[in-house]
Amino acid sequence: MRLVAVRSIKGGSGATTTAAHLAVALKAEGLPVLLIDLCSSNMLRLHFGMNWVDQSGLAVQIEKNLPWYEASFRSEFGIDFIPHGYTPGEQQGLILNTLFAAQPYWLKNSLEQLDLAPDCWVVIDCPSNQTQIGSIASAIADHSLLVITADPACYASMQNYPLEAGNHHYLVNRFNPLMAVEKDFYDVLQADYQQHIAPLSIHRDESIRESLAYKQTVFSCAPHSQAAHDYTTLATWLRGHLPAGVSDD
């Protein structure tokens, strides 16, 4: 089992979209994939056509003391995912936070209990504001992706978050080489962070927004788009980029 934790430095950088598409790209390479949404905004499920009104999810199960894994769904295109779920009231957003604070090993133990195939990839979408969940997830993950954008605001935020030791990589998202600011900041990021930056970027592509409007991913909506190609490259790179001490599956 390989675990990938995806989070963003600054909210709205596109971690959820990246996690969703990474899972689809890995599935397209023939690997079993499980996608878990730990973000209280509950947006991940929308990439897979889940019904608006269906509020079931991880947080709901935990709140009601039911088995958490029973809130899993399979999309039309064969992706297995566990949405966060929607619990009305002030509890929304705090359930998982409380759980992780009380039981830091909950995630690790729970994943081990599942009967996953040995070459299964688990992709976890972590929230950007509740940093505790993000750090716990990335600490136990084989790969940790921090999604950033090449602009001054994100660059400034990065100064406050020094990169922890371990297999962490920055991934530049929504890259638009036509804009001078993005081109320049991309070069600055390359110079400053060198091998900590993933050797590819996800281009800014309207196909991503349009496919979300269809409640699908770019792989089904615009398979020849640059975004689809970028996510496929990301999946390939991750597969080949082995963390220290892990043998190839």
Binding site: F175, P177, D205, S207, H224, S225, H229
Partner: protein, 840 residues
Amino acid sequence: MTKAVTQKVSLLERFICLFFIPPKANQDTPGLYDRIAALFPHINLKRPVPLDIVRIPLQIIWLVLVKPTPAKRISLRTRLGQRVKSIKALLPMALLQRAGKALSCPIKNPTDVRKTGETFATHAFWDHPIVNYISIFIGAFIVFLSVTTPFSLATQALFVLLLWLAAMWVRRIPGHLATMILIVFSVTASSRYLWWRFDSTLNWDDMLDLTLGFGLLGAEVYAWLVLLLGYFQTAWPLNREPSDLPRDTREWPSVDIYIPTYNEPLNVVRPTVFAAQAIDWPKDKINIYILDDGCRESFRDFAEEAGVNYFERKESTHAKAGNLNLAMTKTHGEFIAIFDCDHIPTRSFLQTSMGLFLKDEKLAVIQTPHHFFSPDPFERNLGNFGKVPNENELFYGLVQDGNDLWDATFFCGSCAIIKRDPLEEIGGIAVETVTEDAHTSLRLHRLGYRSAYLSQPQAAGLATESLSAHVGQRIRWARGMAQIFRTDNPLLGKGLSIGQRLCYSNAMMHFLYGVPRLIFLTAPLAFLLLHSYIIYASALTLTLYVLPHILHSSITNSRIQGEHRFSFWAEVYETALAWYIARPTTIALFAPNKGSFNVTAKGGLVEDEHFDWTISKPYLALVFLNLIGFAAGIARLIFGDPDEIQTVVITLLWTTYNLTMLGAAMAVAAEAKQVRVTHRVSIQFPVTLHLRNGHCIHAETSDYSEGGLGIKLANEGMLTNGEELSISLKQGTREFVFPVRVSNTYGTHVGVRFKDLTQQQEKDLIHCTFARADAWVDRNKNREKDRPLHSLKYVIQMGIQGYIRLYKHLVPRIHFVADSILYIRNFLRWLLPRTPVTSK
């Protein structure tokens, strides 16, 4: 395979179904419409044309009269081919198995035997020096015996057969030892032939016969020498690997890049300069110089804009060599890299090569291949660009690599790096001959310096534009090499090792093929026209001696050179150039100082499709002579001495071969029209299209030219003509954007043109295209391997093409008539009924 029609449709059914609506087809059997359409193969029933009123009834009448042919009938030729293959495969195996049974050690199957043979052949045991010497000695002794022992006719026939069978078997074994064995066979066969020629085929009784016989024999000795030296030169290519540079870039030496130019247009030089600026090397250790022999304002201005140095020269003494020597006095780099103005380097040029210099103090020259991204006249006019390796490939793909083993790689004038100190020691680039490059490296070798060759192309440039420019370039090389052979002969003088002497001699002797080739092209006429016995032997004996000589050298050369030169093409190249280099080389051999230097023209445009009459005069003369000879031969067959029929037939065959080669040379003289000024280079890398509506499409380029790019998309209709968008290309981690407009769409292929690029954008474009380190890595992706018979067939087709083109250009009015006949023939084929093909 699709399910074919399984039942015969009756005649009545056919008529009736033409009038009723056909029922819907189920999945397994094709619908009625499909069955009927199969009976009218040349008519599109869904889109009838007016004349179908005539065609359909004609076809119906035809169908009544004729049965449809079954599809699966295998042609006779294929069946024969299969039969022959099975016999061939069995023969050595059958013999071997019987032998095995007789010796009571059963051999299981052909694969086992082959594997055993291969393990034996490629065992490390053979690399031991003592084993090498012993096997060479034994080989030499056997060769000597087999060359000089006279055989009776029957014995010779048996010898030839055995040698042939052995070669056919050894040929299937991969590995170096098998190549060596094939070389030994070829040397034996050819030496035996030559010995026999000296021994028994000169007619000492007749003066004319003797003189002409000696002439032919001289040409044959030349061919034999070149064959042997060629084996020596190319049997062990070194495949040298680059060395690593030290990690500290402060230890890297300084390099001057010279880009000499004389009369080439600026748009040819710009990409070279931009690519030179993109070379990965510390900026303080690299200096780029444009050396302008033509003193042009536009070049000076461009150099200032681009930020490179500019030298000009008022007098043009000693052409390029003088230009380079003057620049050497004004610059200080420890190493000098030289690029012809149209040879565009990749960014990895210095980093790949310089490591070798730092490892070896005595290394003075590193040469890299001249790769051409445009077709040379042979490729363009014969239409085989990309399919058949061009003339250059043998030299840069194999010969230089073979030279490298003997430390005999020579400088070729461009895409090379020379160390300054040794160069100054020999007094700069040599100016005494017109091939200053080879002469310079010869002098460096004499002083004990070494040279190296890296076989991966690190630069690419333009091939010669037209046949006349090509011939001019070859004349210069040939003249220069003959001059060096005469004035600074590598076989004499001190400072060279044996290997170097032989390799340099072969390189120079190669260019003396003019006179021998002309002798070969006219030799059969001696018998046909003058009835002179230049080969005093019976036809059968001649066949038994000549055939193994030709066959073995073909097989062995195909084995050694197969990837870089297809069989029989050497004859085509030589035939095309023989007349032109014959005189300059002969003059240069006797009076090396006579003769002038002519510059190779680059960057011109072949405006019109035309036949180069000037260039092809010699071919026409030779064709004329050979045709007269052919006619005389036919006359001899009918009216002449019946005892001589065999000889006449053989001579006629030889004449036909000569005519074919001359035809191929003429085919090249019919210049194909060059449609665009800038060359289209086939180059594939990923590109991102940024559309106005925010969508990004991932695509791949198919080709690149100065003003635009060809892009291959996944689907049709993704872009419209005239659409404006941006494209971005990656270079490492950086991404560069270029504004473009769609200029044409054709299915999934789209052509875009760049819109007013700034100089920085032009630079970026070169960095992303020509200057990529991997730009020329998969240039031979679609290359097939040499198949001698296939290649012969292709050359014969080219020969016939040559005559057709000659005919077309010769008489334009008759050309029109021929076209009309063709048109009428095509119309009749379209109109008249055709037998449909069905399978049972």
